[in-house]
């Protein structure tokens, strides 16, 4: 994995004394720091200059999160005939953007602020978490930090993972999932996590990792990191997402699943999720421009009911069937679910569809708690 080294740090005055700020600045002693009153100034500049996305990511903004840190996953919000089955997930937006340059990354077409951002007012984050979890003792919470950023890509600078893991260790109805494509696990290994944090890796065959996930850790590095986390007592998870349909996909994914489930004992795996490539049409155009040699836009992608381009449904179903049978072969009993898929696809692949999102979410939390 390529470490992140910003060329400049913009610091919002309101978080200049925050512990997260201090950790980042201590970790990057040679990076120039510019104090700003508000990130709105940078947003205005970004709109005018429209720097390339890669260039904009060389600037790191330490900002105050003025909105909510803690939210329901946006996947839960689609309803009706267009709705997909979601897993009742919650997200913590402690950072936004990612420097690892995966060609399929939806953030390219989603974020209007092009720089790397870390929200440094962590006091507010923990206050929100405490309130939400304490207010609903009857509810199980499965919470992730990997929606707008990789959970661990900046952990060497921020060490955000440490207080989060320690916080969730104390909860009886909530678990944390740290989802990553890195091998940055140094901050995690000595923590008293009580098994309430799941460390999860997104995985793709090495061919895809090398051609589409440009600055990420190699698959071997990710599996080695997973092995170390298992040794440190953590439950781990794997997300085969996005699964790419290309000429050699069956052989490559079969090998990947075999390697993963041979390396990591099944009883340490909390869950495996499956998600075939999906993207808004705008992202397809961004991929073409930024990554002209990417094979992703060349798949048999059609507009789906949620407005995204997805592989034609029989292809998705075939992919999930195949992946599920491989997982069953090498890791029997490991819980498997499909991420953001249609109910009829669920029924075809799993033989049933959960009656509610909460039921699916709870079943996953209970694997861990």
């Amino acid at each position: 994995m390529k470490d992140y080294q910003p060329e400049i740090i913009y610091l919002e005055a309101s978080v200049r004394y925050a512990p997260v700020t201090k950790r980042v600045l201590d970790s990057l002693p040679s990076a120039p720091v510019e104090m700003i009153d508000s990130s709105m100034t940078l947003l205005g500049n970004a709109k005018e200059w429209n720097p390339s996305r890669s260039r904009a990511k060389r600037s790191l903004l330490l900002a105050e999160q003025k909105g909510d840190f803690f939210k329901a996953c946006p996947g839960q919000q689609s309803k009706g005939e267009t709705s997909n089955v979601c897993c009742n997930y919650y997200v913590i937006n402690f950072a936004s953007n990612c420097h690892m340059e995966c060609s399929y990354c939806y953030l390219q077409a989603y974020l209007n602020f092009p720089h790397m951002v870390v929200y440094a007012n962590s006091d507010k984050l923990f206050e929100e978490l405490e309130n939400a979890i304490a207010d609903h003792p009857e509810q199980y919470f499965r919470v992730g930090t990997g929606e707008l950023a990789d959970s661990l890509a900046l952990d060497a600078l921020t060490a955000y993972s440490r207080p989060l893991v320690e916080f969730f260790a104390e909860q009886s109805n909530a678990i944390l999932e740290l989802k990553t494509k890195t091998d940055c696990i140094e901050n995690l290994l000595d923590l008293n996590h009580r098994g309430h944090t799941v460390i999860a890796w997104s995985l793709n065959p090495s061919f895809i990792q090398k051609t589409e996930e440009h600055k990420t850790a190699s698959i071997d590095e990710r599996l080695m990191a997973a092995r170390l986390c298992v040794e440190a007592g953590y439950p781990v998870a794997f997300h085969f997402d996005p699964i790419i349909h290309y000429s050699n996909w069956k052989e490559d994914y079969r090998d990947l699943i075999k390697d993963t489930l041979t390396e990591i004992p099944s009883e340490s795996i909390a869950w495996i999720s499956l998600g075939a490539l999906r993207m808004p049409d705008t992202l397809k155009r961004v991929i073409r421009k930024r990554f002209p040699s990417s094979i992703l836009p060349l798949g048999e992608l059609v507009p789906a009911s949620d407005g995204k381009l997805r592989y034609f449904k029989p292809i998705r179903t075939e992919i999930y069937h195949f992946m599920r049978s491989c997982i069953e072969e090498w890791g029997p009993g490991v819980p498997v679910y499909a991420c953001m898929e249609r109910p009829e696809v669920w029924s075809k692949v799993f033989g049933r569809c959960y009656p509610s999102e909460r039921e699916l979410g709870n079943s996953l939390v209970q694997v861990v708690l």
Partner: protein, 330 residues
Amino acid sequence: MKVLMRKHPALSFSLVNTHEIDSEDRTYAITPEWHPLGSLLTSIQAVGLLVPLWLEQSQRSQLRIISGFRRFKAVQELGIEEVPCVVVPQRPPIETFVKVLWENIGSRELSELEKAAAVHKLKVRFGLSESELITQFLPVLGVAANRHHLEQYLDIAQLPESVQQAMATGELHTDVALALSEWRTGEQDFFIQLVSTYQMGRNKQRELFEFLGELRALNGCEVFSVWDRSGAKAIHEDQRLSPQDQLAGIKSALRSLRYPRLSEHEKRFQKLRKSLKLPSGVKLDVPRYFEGSQIEIKMGADSPAKLREMVRLSDRSLDRKELDQIFELL
């Protein structure tokens, strides 16, 4: 009426022999050299050159055109040997170019190609920074001041001549022209010819380009091979079809090759639906791209008796096993 006139100390009209003018030096030109002269020729032929050329003294032996490239070309074509000119002393080229640009902006609407040429010259020939171009020049050209537009205009300036010409005639849309630059010259000309033959609007151009471009990338071959293999060539050459039907057939052939599983599914659905032998006036449809789990039936009748009969006949059709097979497609 008394006309008050004062002679400008630096400017005076001269009649200059065209041989003294350097026709190769296009330092200050922003209009492409190939741009057709149109009615300029007939105008000069009728009344002569009314607006003089502006020239500057050059360190080379000949005079350099500052303004009037098209007029000079017309004069040459008409074989006129002496033209009225204003000859000015040489100034730093960037200064003169900016003046020319202002003069053009003030007198007419610049085309996209001319704006692109101006931006490209300012950057490449005169060495202006991106920041200067974005803040000082894009707004003057009526272009939104950001890097995206700067890059787009720089790309337009470097498009091959044939692509620029198709853009200039309005046949080829800018975003398709820019995407087309990734193809080889022969492929570009082929696509431009198609656009011209079928008089495609922007959306149709984009759609055809996308099909051909993606199939070309998928198969690692030239566009001609895709054209042939898909059957589009045969449809294109079928004189029995109207241009409209040819284009629809070409699109369908390319779509089948680009989306083989979907096309196969659609054909199967159509065959099964036909086998149901639904009464006329009854329509059975699946969700778009088969994304969904429900099948819809629509029927319409103008009397209770007809509707009852329609339902009765439909009922018989829907008892067939083909209905189950249609559901299996979802």
